[in-house]
Symmetry: C2
Subunit: 307 residues, 2 copies
């Protein structure tokens, strides 16, 4: 029997469970609180939020599975794909399910992390997978950056030699803040509409996609373990708040998921759970010469090679 939306959303829920357990264990103190919600147009979600944990100041691990009439945004993009021109006026229906994670830690030496994996179906048999993991360190620690990219490369290489270089560049391009001329962080991997070329069949792509999701907990708990005991100063916190300000700028100005959610009357509290507890903006802030802050700024560029 072919794998469909039921199996995939069931698997995503179990992934949400296992990630929440792993994060609670790594945090040591915080617990996720769960909220179930439904959507008038069809479907709903299971939002899990941790506040004021030992390591995690604010974090969300969100599952959702929604369906309805495909919004123009998706429908029009679909028309661009050569595969299935139909010329009909009637809007097709869609189904989308995924897990989204954003974690903002207390300690400025523990990085912010983001993961999203999503499965999408549209009437007529079109379906694809998308997702990725990217890291936004307040301070870029080279060993950690290498470990992070190496871990992602390992998952990619197991499935297709092109995936890591292709999806790494995609993340560099996606998580970019043009008005700041900075990347949001050190990138990672980002992919969308997987299954729309013929290089691998759906099941092969699904296996890759699942392993991305499964890699998250071990990667992030390792980064927590490495840095959670680092001593930090008031200056480090101020810098963290400024970097979070950039995170807010990216998410509110450029992030497609956020824009799409806000424009289509999505569940605001779930969409904006990505925003930090505290963020700061200072007019014309300048880093000190040869400081750690300056070093980090110098590494917020596209196209750096970490492995």
């Amino acid at each position: 029997m072919e794998i469909g939306r039921v199996e995939i959303s069931t698997w995503l829920k179990s992934l949400q469970d296992s990630i929440c357990s792993a994060l609670e264990k790594a945090d040591g103190l915080g617990r996720f609180e769960e909220e179930n919600w439904t959507r008038e147009e069809g479907g709903g979600g299971r939002t899990r939020i941790m506040k004021e944990g030992g390591v995690i100041e604010k974090g969300g691990v969100l599952f959702s599975a929604v369906e309805g009439e495909a919004p123009d945004f998706l429908f029009k993009e679909k028309q661009h794909s050569a595969a299935d021109q139909q010329g009909e006026e009637k809007k097709p229906r869609f189904f989308a399910t995924g897990v989204s994670i954003v974690i903002h830690p207390n300690n400025p030496f523990v990085p912010i992390i983001h993961m999203n994996i999503r499965y999408f179906e549209m009437d007529g048999g079109t379906r694809w997978l998308g997702g990725g993991i990217d890291l936004t360190p307040h301070y870029i620690i080279e060993e950690d950056a290498k470990f992070f990219h190496q871990s992602l490369k390992k998952v990619c290489d197991k499935h297709h030699a092109d995936y890591y270089p292709k999806f790494k560049n995609w993340a560099d391009d996606y998580f970019y803040i043009p008005h700041r001329k900075e990347t949001r962080g050190i990138g990672g991997i980002f992919f969308d509409r997987l299954n729309t070329d013929a290089s691998m069949n759906f099941e092969q792509n699904l296996n890759f996609w699942k392993e991305v999701g499964e890699a998250f907990a071990s990667i992030y708990t390792e980064l927590i373990a490495r840095n959670k005991h680092q001593i930090f100063t008031e200056k480090n916190k101020q810098w963290q708040f400024l970097r979070r300000g950039r995170y807010v700028e990216f998410n509110l100005v450029y992030d497609k998921g956020t824009k799409f959610g806000l424009e289509t009357n999505g569940r605001v509290e779930s969409i904006l759970m990505s925003l930090p507890k505290l963020a700061s903006w200072e007019y014309d802030f300048k880093t000190e010469a040869d400081s750690e802050e300056e070093k980090t700024l110098g590494l917020l560029k596209k196209g750096l090679t970490w492995v």
Copy 2:
């Protein structure tokens, strides 16, 4: 001799001077620092920022006068006006000058205020005035809200009986956050493309526009004087940070000036001076029943009558 761009930008600079003086006096401690900048495509500005004052935590009073090839955005909107269809491919040149102000105070009982007045010219003789003043109290104090609207109404009524009701509604519509179903604050007045109907001549409209600019300092210094000594708690500060979060959401997601500036490679530090020193987001924050916070939320609606 007809009044043109030179007289208007000179007047705006003197307005910037007098507003900065009045704000420094009201603040008692802080001083504005000035930065002059130029723009490759033509023109520049004089940015004045106050940080960590006695009353003002972060505030900017910005003058700019820029010119260049009109961006599509403006050109296309221009084509919609009946006045001057030209059918030419060549992009017209524009000149724009204005003063923009955003003040974020320390004390949560002192409101955030925003003012902008701008003058715009395009090749071929088209020119118009725009602007407004709006108030974003963290806590809405009815007496202050009435004073604020009454002061604006007085300026409007002196020039045209329609102006206050029309521009008050315009502000309600403009300063609205659809995804929150909240207004940003209690509005004020907002107008654009003044001089494109025949009810008053340019000089009459210019006089109205100048008086809006001149009204700012006395209105805001009065609101500072009324509230700067109010005692506040940690809970009041947290609420202030959450309200500032909404301010950030409005400015980054909806504000046309911000979007336009970021998309057209404007001076980022000047555009984003509107963002507060510290802002906060909490997942699914709920106000307590019958609290001051709940009362304020209940008043963040379009169409309330304050005078």
